[in-house]
C-alpha cells in the first residue's frame, strides 16, 4: 500500500451489511495498530437490494479527510452480480487490490496495471459457518477474513476481536468462524 493513509471502498447491495463491515474493519484496523481510522456509509438514502458503497480509512496520523473515497487502495465487493451494474474498480490506485466474493474463477474484471484481483468464496465460508439469515448467507463479516489474508493490513485476531465485540455470544462465534474460513480460501 502506498502513502500514509489507506482508503478502502466497499461495494454491496442494500441490506448486505457493507456499512457494518466498514465499521468492523475500522475497529479491527484500530486493534491492529492504526491509530486513526474512519468508517462511513455513502451519504444519503439507500434502498434494499440497490448497489451501495461504504468506506474505511486507516492511517497513523489523524485523518482529516471526510469526503467520500474516490481513489481507493482496496476495493471489496460483497456480491459479484454488482460487476455488471457498477464500475467497482473506478479510481483504484496502481498497486491496489480488489477483493471479490465469487465462485467464478474466470469472471472478468478490468483493473489498472499492477493492481491485483483476489477471489474468495466468501458466500461458501458464511454458509459453512452457519451465518445464514432467512435462508440467505450473510457475507459481510466473513469477507473481513479474506480482507486480512489479501492485504495484511489488519491481523486475523484483530478481525475476530472486532467481530466478537459487535455481536452477541453465539452469533459472534459463527461470524468469527466464517471469517476464519474465508481467511483460508483466498486465491489470486
Amino acid at each position: 500500500m502506498s502513502g500514509a493513509m489507506v482508503e478502502v471502498r466497499w461495494h454491496g447491495r442494500g441490506g448486505q451489511g457493507a456499512v457494518t463491515a466498514a465499521k468492523i474493519l475500522a475497529q479491527a484496523a484500530y486493534l491492529s495498530g492504526w491509530e486513526s481510522v474512519t468508517a462511513a456509509p455513502s451519504f444519503g438514502a439507500e434502498r434494499r437490494g440497490a448497489p451501495v458503497t461504504a468506506s474505511t480509512r486507516m492511517a497513523h496520523e489523524k485523518i482529516r479527510v471526510l469526503s467520500q473515497v474516490t481513489a481507493p487502495d482496496v476495493v471489496v465487493v460483497l456480491d459479484d452480480s454488482l460487476l455488471s451494474a457498477v464500475d467497482v474498480a473506478a479510481g483504484l490506485k496502481q498497486g491496489g487490490v480488489v477483493i471479490l466474493n465469487t465462485v467464478e474463477p474466470t469472471l472478468a474484471l478490468k483493473v489498472p496495471e499492477g493492481a491485483r484481483v483476489v477471489r474468495a468464496d466468501v458466500t461458501g465460508a458464511a454458509q459453512a459457518a452457519g451465518v445464514v439469515v432467512g435462508g440467505q448467507p450473510i457475507v459481510n463479516t466473513a469477507i473481513l477474513g479474506a480482507f486480512a489474508a489479501a492485504t495484511g493490513l489488519v491481523m486475523l485476531p484483530a478481525v475476530e476481536q472486532a467481530i466478537a465485540a459487535t455481536f452477541s455470544e453465539s452469533a459472534a462465534a459463527r461470524n468469527v468462524e466464517a471469517a476464519r474460513l474465508a481467511y483460508e480460501c483466498v486465491q489470486e
Binding site: 475497529q27 486513526s36 474512519t38 451519504f43 438514502a45 485523518i63 482529516r64 471526510l66 469526503s67
Partner: protein, 406 residues
C-alpha cells in the same frame, strides 16, 4: 477511559448517557435518528436510568423537554433540519423560560426541495432564539461538548445546542475516548434545584403573560416587564462567553483533552489569509492550510466553536494584522450573505488593522467540499487581499456552472 469506534450520533448518545440525563423526548429524523435510537435501546435494556418519551412531533419533543426541565430534570433531545424548523416555536420558549435543556443538532439542509444531506442552514435559522450554540469538529468533541453543555446550561439557566455536521460526522465512525462515569461525575455534579419548584402545596403560575409594563411576581414583588427579561437574557448570553471558555479549560484539566473554548486555531502565526468556518469543515481546512504552508503560502485556520454568543473579542484578537479572512459558510441569508461572514464583518467593523472579510458559500445540500476547491478559494482570496480588495461578492465553492440547467 475506553476507546470506542463511534459515529458522531453514538458519540452524542454517549455524552448524554455520561451526563446522566433523566428525561429524553424525541422524534426521529435523518440524520439524527441513531442518537435517540441508541439512547432508547439503553433505556429499554436498563443501562440508562432515564425516562424516554416517544412523541408525535418535534414540537412535542421540545414541549416535553420544557415540562421536564421546568420540573427540575436534566433533559435531552436531538433533531435535524425540518424537525428543528417544526420545533422552532418551542425553541424560543425554552430559551425565554431560561431552561437548561441540551439539544444535539445533526446539521442538515432545509426543504424545499427535500434533501437529507449536510449543511448548516437549520441551526443557523434559529441562531437568534437565545440558545448557546456550540459547533463540533469531530466525534470526540461531540461527546466532550455534550457533557460540557450541561455544566454551562445549568450554571447560566440557558439552553445549549450542540451542532455537528450530518453524515460527515453523524454517520462517520472514528476512535473516541469514552471517559469513565466517575470522571464525568467529578466534572458534572447533579443538576441544581430549578429556579421555580413545582410543588402542589405552593402553587405558582409559571410562564405568565408579561406585558410591557412592570408587574408584581407571585411573591408580590415588583418586577420588570418583557423588555427587562429580554435584556437579562441577552446579558446572560454575553456572560456565557466566559463560562464556555472556563468550562472547556476545566474539561481539559480533568480529561487532558482540549475541545477549544470559544474558538480553535491552527497555524495563525504570520498568516496572510485566515480561513474561518464552524464544524467539521474546520478539520478539513487544517489539511488545506498545511498543504498551502508546504507551498510557502502563509495560511491559517480559525474555527468558531461558540457561534452564539458570538466571540467578538477573541476573533478581533486572533485576526489582528491579517490581510484577509475568508469565511466558509454552509448556510446563506438569502439576499444578503453567509451568516458567519456577515457576523464577522460586523465584529471587525471600525477596528484598526482588521482584515478584509470575504464570504464563500459551500456544501449546501451535501455538495462535496474538496480540499482542491478550498485551496483554490484560499489562493483567490490571497490574490485579492494582496491587490487591496476590501469588498467582494459572495463566492460559491463547488457550484456547478457549466452544462447545468435550472
Amino acid at each position: 477511559m475506553t476507546v470506542r469506534i463511534l459515529t458522531g450520533n453514538e458519540s452524542a448518545a454517549w455524552g448524554a448517557r455520561l451526563a446522566r440525563v433523566q428525561v429524553v423526548a424525541a422524534y426521529p429524523i435523518t440524520p439524527q435518528s441513531p442518537v435517540v435510537e441508541t439512547i432508547s435501546a439503553w433505556v429499554q435494556a436498563g443501562e440508562l436510568p432515564a425516562e424516554f418519551i416517544a412523541v408525535e412531533s418535534e414540537h412535542s419533543a421540545m414541549s416535553v423537554c420544557i415540562g421536564a426541565s421546568t420540573a427540575g430534570a436534566r433533559t435531552f433531545t436531538a433533531t435535524s433540519s425540518n424537525g428543528l424548523a417544526y420545533m422552532t416555536e418551542q425553541i424560543w420558549w425554552a430559551a425565554g423560560a431560561r431552561l437548561p435543556i441540551v439539544m444535539c443538532v445533526a446539521n442538515r439542509s432545509l426543504a424545499a426541495p427535500w434533501n437529507v444531506l449536510n449543511d448548516q442552514q437549520d441551526s443557523m435559522s434559529v441562531r437568534d432564539a437565545g440558545w448557546i450554540q456550540l459547533h463540533c469538529r469531530d466525534n470526540q468533541e461531540i461527546l466532550d461538548t455534550v457533557v460540557q453543555a450541561y455544566r454551562i446550561a445549568e450554571r447560566l439557566n440557558l439552553p445549549v445546542m450542540v451542532c455537528y455536521d450530518g453524515f460527515l460526522l453523524s454517520h462517520t465512525a472514528m476512535p473516541v475516548e469514552v471517559p469513565t462515569p466517575e470522571a464525568v461525575d467529578a466534572f458534572l455534579p447533579p443538576r441544581p434545584a430549578p429556579l421555580q419548584v413545582i410543588d402542589p402545596a405552593d402553587p405558582r403560575n409559571i410562564g405568565p403573560v408579561v406585558i410591557a409594563d412592570r408587574r408584581r411576581d407571585a411573591g408580590g414583588v415588583l418586577r420588570g416587564g418583557y423588555m427587562e427579561l429580554r435584556a437579562a437574557h441577552h446579558e446572560a448570553l454575553l456572560s456565557a462567553l466566559d463560562v464556555v471558555a472556563e468550562t472547556a479549560d476545566e474539561w481539559e484539566r480533568s480529561t487532558g483533552r482540549s475541545t477549544g473554548g470559544l474558538v480553535v486555531q491552527h497555524r495563525l502565526d504570520d498568516a496572510e489569509v485566515v480561513l474561518v468556518a464552524a464544524g467539521s469543515l474546520v478539520t478539513q481546512l487544517t489539511l488545506v492550510a498545511d498543504g498551502l504552508r508546504d507551498r510557502g503560502v502563509a495560511v491559517g485556520v480559525l474555527g468558531i466553536r461558540c457561534y452564539r454568543p458570538f466571540p467578538v473579542e477573541a476573533l478581533r484578537e486572533r485576526l489582528s494584522g491579517v490581510r484577509a479572512a475568508l469565511v466558509f459558510d454552509k448556510a446563506l441569508s438569502y439576499g444578503y450573505a453567509g451568516p458567519i461572514a456577515a457576523d464577522l464583518r460586523a465584529a471587525l467593523y471600525g477596528v484598526d488593522g482588521a482584515p478584509a472579510v470575504y464570504g464563500a458559500v459551500c456544501g449546501l445540500g451535501g455538495r462535496e467540499v474538496t480540499p482542491e476547491a478550498l485551496t483554490d478559494a484560499a489562493l483567490s482570496a490571497l490574490a485579492d487581499a494582496r491587490a487591496g480588495v476590501r469588498e467582494r461578492a459572495v463566492a460559491w465553492v463547488g457550484r456547478l456552472s457549466e452544462e447545468v440547467s435550472r
